[in-house]
């Protein structure tokens, strides 16, 4: 249990660190936005206060605004503000989004967590589908490649991975959109009308992104798996198994694959998670996919700092939780790690 606690504490430390960094960086604009939001609300209210001169109205608003600033501590120095926002984020205290909301829906504000919440499922849907497909294709490829290093399959995997790593995903996305959506009209492109509540529509729209992401990640995943498998092939116990007269097929399946499973599962899954966090943002933007990555862009475009901050917090949280889950998975796969 000890290692679990250590890992969990580590996770918390990273989470707090990231949150604090982000909060410290954005505390100024965040406070300004909070003040503006309250001011607007007050200006709405003051319209109902009949019988006031414009001068009195302004005083009325300023008085209340001042009280609000004092009570919320928005005039405090940046480090106190940062601490306040860090705690707010960690407690999931809800922030309000104005600019993004007015860009998409209507005047007024919406809860940031609600905005993020409606996008998360689409990101998860897109990237889990492509991760599963990647694993399904990459593992047999890696096995073939590792069996005869330097062979044709091996060279294909190596070249593929070179391109997969050195290519911006979103660039291939652009090329694919042009070819498959606009030129040959095979798949729905980013401009297609999509009802995001209709599953058939969403799946049709998903085909092209999934294909792109899968094609790109197969190369790197297969290459990583191949390296792990090759290392395992060179282990003494594999030679022992061969010397014991174990048929080559069983050597591969029983000894190599089983022994290589823990690093394969963790390293490959982890690299997929990493690529989701890092690649999703721009890939989703190019595909105009209604997910969290796209939301980053929307937040930047509309200068909606609360959304940007909360989104970074949620992304970090999801990413760390996935890592944590993978750590636990590893210990169950590898008997060498104590499970106590």
């Amino acid at each position: 249990m000890r290692w679990l606690v250590i890992k969990a504490v580590n996770l918390l430390i990273v989470l707090v660190a990231v949150t604090f960094i982000v909060a410290a960086m954005t505390s100024g604009p965040m406070a300004q936005i909070q003040i503006n939001q309250y001011k607007q609300a007050l200006q709405q209210q003051v319209k109902n206060q009949l019988g006031l001169t414009p001068q009195e109205r302004m005083e009325w608003v300023n008085e209340r605004l001042q009280t609000y600033i004092e009570s919320q501590g928005l005039n405090k120095p940046w480090y106190i503000l940062s601490l306040k926002y860090t705690i707010d984020l960690l407690k999931f205290t809800d922030l309000n989004s104005t600019t993004l909301t007015s860009m998409y829906w209507h005047q007024g504000s919406r809860k940031v967590l609600y905005i993020i919440g409606e996008r998360i499922p689409f990101s998860i849907l897109l990237f889990t589908t492509s991760s599963i497909l990647t694993l399904l294709f990459a593992l047999p490829l890696a096995l073939y490649a590792a069996r005869s290093p330097g062979g044709r399959v091996d060279n294909t995997v190596i070249t593929w991975s070179v391109f997969g790593v050195s290519m911006p995903w979103w660039w291939l996305a652009m090329v694919f959109i042009y070819l498959f959506a606009y030129k040959w009209h095979i798949f729905a492109g980013p401009g297609a009308q999509t009802d995001w509540t209709n599953i058939v529509d969403v799946l049709r729209r998903m085909a092209l992104p999934v294909i792109t992401v899968t094609i790109l990640s197969i190369g790197d995943s297969a290459f990583r798996m191949r390296n792990i498998l090759l290392d395992t092939f060179n282990e003494d116990f594999v030679t022992v198994a061969r010397a014991k007269g174990v048929p080559e097929h069983d050597v591969l399946m029983k000894h190599v694959l089983r022994a290589a499973a823990p690093p394969i599962v963790t390293i490959v899954l982890f690299s997929l998670v990493l690529s989701v966090v890092n690649g999703a943002i721009i890939t989703e933007l190019v595909f105009n996919w209604f997910g969290m990555g796209r939301l980053y862009w929307d937040a930047i475009e509309s200068n909606d700092v609360p959304v940007l901050v909360e989104l970074t917090y949620i992304t970090t949280l999801l990413y760390l939780l996935t890592r944590f889950a993978l750590d636990i998975l590893y210990t169950y796969l590898d008997p060498r790690v104590k499970r106590a």
Partner: protein, 515 residues
């Protein structure tokens, strides 16, 4: 301790091994190629042209190159004629006497006035349309001219006439009938401007529109509010696909005629009493450009690819070498101190390593977006990437520090810094180089991604910025595939170079793989 001879020897054998593998050979050749390109750019293009390229919008680019021209190898029907009519090419008649009909109080009156005429005849031979026709025309009317009427027409081979202008002008000043006006101090010059996206508020718009509508009145061709220059040189052909436009070949004549009347006592040849054409140009732009085409601001893509090389080197090398160097020293220290200090260092590195890079990078870039330069970007990336190599370096340093000669040095009383920098660090260095080379592709791709989101150095023409420009100009939807295909390919080849090199170096520095 390895001496110089040993180093030399190992260098020569190692470089031979790198050269022997296919990936090493390809990597080295590509690297040399890129270095030559970078040197060329730094020597001849930096900083004026690079900055001009990065900032884009200026009338100079569309004057030199066509807008949105695809690469020539992809175009089957090329506009292969060079037509560039300058002021000096025009034929000019002298000032002749002519009768002017003026609307008087009691009906038209004929008055004796003057006429001056400029004309040019050219042959249109090509089977394709130009991508655009750049036109500049400016006329100066003297202060003492009491009457002026200007006719600006294009006579087509089929006998029809397109009118650009048929009206009076203000006296005592230069009027730009068409073109981009550029003021440099007191000098005003009129630069040629494309006819394609002619604005509706332009002087010639209504005349042009009227004559084009008349020209295509009996056909199914609809003259759009956005006038396409094709319409000037086209004829309608009834084909299988209905009515289409093909170039109308033959002799065209541009004619500018001014009819004017100077005030009494002012000579029609004097500056104050005459009408003069001050600037004139008709330039036909080709419908394709070079091997790589041009973008929506008429910047050649090929030039952009070349200009991007040194910037890719700068960002890639700065980030990787600084961050791996920092990481290497950090990792060596973490491996050398086997007590709480080493543990603490590792904890910090672990935290940095488990940050989700891109989201945080985006937030950071967003905060610094007003003052973003290549170096700010590099700094931000270093902040996040330095911890990457720490774990590998630390385990290498641990292994080395347990070796006998390090123990011996420790026992003989060598100080910590001496042990680290004389014994451990030189051994760790090869790993560091391999890691650095292998991480360059990631950096380049990350930079491009940030550029796409709008966080790019405004003065650096990086490939990422070219992609951003393509994306923002909706190049995918418009079918301008060359504007994003080539910069992306350049990125891929550039990062693949380092990936290949890194993979060739890897087996040398990691003895485990050598087996």
């Amino acid at each position: 301790m390895p001496n110089l001879k040993h180093w030399k020897e190992s260098f020569s054998t190692n470089s031979r091994i790198i050269w022997m593998s296919f990936s090493g050979k390809t990597g080295i050749i590509l690297l040399i190629l890129f270095l030559v390109m970078a040197g060329y750019v730094v020597a001849f293009y930096y900083p004026t042209i690079t900055t001009e390229y990065a900032q884009g919008v200026t009338a100079l680019w569309p004057y030199k190159y066509p807008v949105n021209a695809p690469p020539c190898w992809s175009v089957s029907n090329k506009f292969n004629q060079r037509i560039d009519i300058r002021y000096g090419d025009l034929n000019k008649t002298g000032i002749e006497k002519t009768l002017i009909t003026v609307q008087g109080l009691f009906g038209p009156i004929k008055i004796e006035g003057y006429k001056t005429e400029y004309f040019y005849k050219f042959k249109y031979k090509s089977n394709a349309f130009p991508s655009d026709v750049l036109v500049s025309t400016a006329v100066r009317v003297g202060e003492n001219v009491s009457f002026i009427k200007l006719y600006y027409t294009l006579d087509r081979p089929d006998g029809s006439r397109i009118t650009f202008y048929d009206s009076t002008l203000q006296t005592g000043k230069i009027t730009a009938l068409y073109g981009a006006i550029e003021r440099k101090g007191n000098n005003i010059s009129v630069l040629p401007l494309g006819l394609t996206y002619i604005s509706q508020s332009n002087r010639i718009y209504s005349f042009l529109m009227r004559s084009l509508q008349k020209l295509y009145a009996n056909t199914s061709i609809i003259v759009n509010p956005i006038i396409d220059n094709e319409l000037l040189f086209a004829k309608v052909v009834n084909g299988s696909k209905g009515e289409t436009l093909v170039p109308l070949k033959g002799d065209y004549t541009i004619n500018i005629t001014a009819v004017f009347l100077p005030e009494k006592g002012v000579s029609p040849t004097s500056n104050r009493g005459s009408v003069n054409l001050t600037s004139f140009e008709w330039k036909f732009m080709p419908n394709c450009y070079g091997l790589f085409g041009t973008d929506n601001q008429a910047r050649p893509i090929g030039l952009g690819l070349l200009l991007g090389v040194p910037f890719a080197f700068v960002i890639g090398f700065t980030v990787t070498f600084v961050s791996t160097f920092v990481g290497a020293i950090y990792g060596t220290l973490a491996g050398f101190w086997k007590d709480i200090r080493g543990e603490a260092l590792m904890r910090v590195a672990d935290i940095v390593n488990s940050l989700p890079f891109l989201p945080i990078l985006i937030v950071l870039s967003y905060i610094f977006r007003q003052s973003i330069t290549l170096m700010v970007l590099a700094g931000l990336m270093i902040l996040l990437f330095w911890a990457g190599p720490v774990i590998v370096i630390r385990s290498a340093a641990l292994q080395i520090s347990e070796q006998l000669y390090v123990e011996a040095a420790r026992a003989s009383g060598a100080g910590a810094s001496r042990i680290i920098f004389r014994h451990i660090f030189p051994q760790v260095l090869p790993y560091t180089i391999a890691i650095a080379v292998l991480s360059i592709p990631g950096i380049i791709v990350t930079e491009a991604g940030l550029a796409l989101l709008g966080f790019g150095d405004p003065t650096a023409p990086t490939w990422g910025k070219m992609l951003q420009n393509a994306y923002n100009s909706q190049a995918i939807l418009n079918g301008w595939w060359w504007t994003y295909l080539f910069p992306g390919l350049a990125l891929v080849v550039f990062s693949a170079t380092f990936l290949l090199l890194g993979r060739a170096i890897e087996p040398i520095v990691a003895p485990k793989l050598q087996k």
